[in-house]
């Protein structure tokens, strides 16, 4: 088995790619870890789609304010320079292409950039989409943070998504525990390999033809 980096290391790797001044939305779940690794002293603005730009870290225990939460309904704070707005304005901000980056989890990403992250299509499951479809189309760069393989070893980078789509052709880059991939008109381009991973080992694991970075 080839090298896998930890989820925290991956979050740190993503954080390192976000330039100062960027406006970023971190999806619910693992992507929220990225906030912990944003460089100290640099100003990167976090957007939460429930109506806050300039979100700060979690509050001190005992200082939870139930009116001040993030999209995952966790208690947060607001930084000096923050702004509140209503839901239509918040999603206009997203849909209008004003966010620089959003980081999302995924069930599957296809080589043309389709994203599936809201439903596994299981019969009987209760569907819930939240802001996933808006986020998928709502940033200049949509980064996916995911394991390369499912727990049972199935590839999450695929030729065509089998699960219901969240967005079509929307993903620009995929950060996995084995490597980083850019989505290009030629399919997945291997941007960076972690540890002893090789293009060949990834191709074998995914059953996909990959393009090395030139």
């Amino acid at each position: 088995m080839t090298t896998r980096i930890s989820r925290n290391d991956l979050a740190a790797r993503i954080a390192a790619d976000i330039p100062e001044g960027a406006v970023v939305n971190l999806g619910i779940g693992a992507p929220t870890l990225v906030a912990n690794f944003l460089p100290e002293g640099e100003e990167i603005l976090l957007h939460t789609e429930n109506g806050l730009l300039g979100m700060g870290p979690a509050p001190q225990a005992g200082a939870v304010d139930p009116d001040l939460i993030n999209a995952g309904k966790q208690a947060v704070t607001a930084l000096p320079g923050a702004a509140y707005f209503h839901h239509a304005d918040s999603f206009a901000m997203m849909r209008g292409g004003h966010l620089d980056v959003c980081v999302l989890g995924a069930f599957q990403v296809s080589q043309n950039g389709d994203l599936a992250n809201w439903s596994t299509g299981e019969p009987g499951a209760i569907p819930a989409v939240g802001g996933a479809m808006d986020l998928a189309i709502g940033a200049k760069d949509v980064y996916v943070m995911t394991d390369l393989l499912t727990k049972s070893g199935e590839p999450k980078l695929v030729e065509t998504c089998a699960y219901p789509l969240t967005g079509v052709g929307c993903v620009s880059r995929v950060y996995t525990d084995h490597a980083i991939f850019d989505v290009t008109p030629d399919g997945f381009v291997v941007r960076e390999l972690f540890g002893d991973n090789t293009v060949a080992s990834l191709e074998a694991a995914l059953g996909l033809s990959l393009t090395p970075k030139d």
């Binding site: 139930p66 939460i69 239509a88 819930a128 189309i137």
Partner: protein
């Protein structure tokens, strides 16, 4: 004199009939008009269609309305949560209808209703299950689906302060759906912590002008805001907040 204040929550929700479509503000618990929902439960109105971002949390507020069997259908973006057991049970038993709408389309469709827009082309959801059967069009090389307004007979929302004309200001992320729902309902009913004198709200900072508001009821300051300390409230899971350092000492 214009005075939109009513004496209590029961008076605020008076006249909501069986079968009404009711928007309820809030994102999870933040901004959820719990006192108005409790009054709606007490009113006994049934066969309601509810528009809310979620489908209730825990056993209070919107969840209690569902548990009371008063809701026929819910229009929302995110019903399934760790604490949505009331909805989950009703849904699996086939006792409630669900219309799932991506959150941004939900917000924009509510705004469109208030703004007199007949329909709009949205890029959200294109090529997904949630756009199936919807009209699609390519504009300037991008694909869009046609989305229609969502209107309601009543909106129940929560704001921070009001004046007797119904001007509203909100607090932090409890603002969420309140301002747009206020515009999209025939009758908009608002609970606030406090009603202040006319002219005490800075006209530059009013978020919802009174034109969108029909009834206002003051329900008192929420415990967690007392003296600026978060005491006596509940945390995001609905559990009592730990006593503050001062109270504990």
């Amino acid at each position: 004199m214009i005075d939109k204040q009513v004496p209590d929550a029961a008076a605020a929700v008076a006249g909501i009939p069986d079968g009404a479509t009711v928007m309820i503000g809030g994102f999870g618990r933040a901004g959820q008009p719990v006192e108005l929902i409790d009054a709606l439960i007490a009113s006994g109105a049934r066969e309601l269609t509810i528009v809310n971002n979620n489908a209730g949390n825990g056993d209070t507020g919107l969840a209690a309305l569902l548990a009371a069997g008063q809701v026929r259908k819910i229009v929302c973006s995110f019903p399934r949560q760790s604490d949505s057991w009331v909805f989950d049970g009703l849904y699996r038993a086939g006792e409630i209808e669900l219309e799932l709408v991506p959150q941004g389309n939900l917000a924009e469709r509510i705004r469109a209703a208030g703004a007199g827009i007949g329909a709009f082309f949205s890029p959200t959801g294109v090529g997904t299950l949630l756009a199936e059967g919807k009209e699609e069009r390519e504009i300037d090389g991008r694909r869009y689906v046609l989305e229609y307004p969502i209107r309601a007979d009543f909106a129940l929302i929560s704001a921070y302060r009001a004046d007797r004309w119904g001007n509203l200001v909100y607090r932090e992320t409890a603002r969420n759906f309140g301002p747009i729902m206020a515009t999209a309902a025939t009758t908009t009913i608002v609970q606030v912590d406090e009603v202040v004198g006319l002219g005490h709200l800075d006209p530059e900072t009013v978020v919802t002008p009174g034109i969108f508001v029909d009834r206002v009821v003051a329900v008192g300051e929420r415990p967690w805001l007392r003296d600026g300390a978060f005491v006596g409230g509940v945390d995001l899971e609905g559990s009592p907040l730990a006593a503050s350092a001062e109270e504990a000492s």
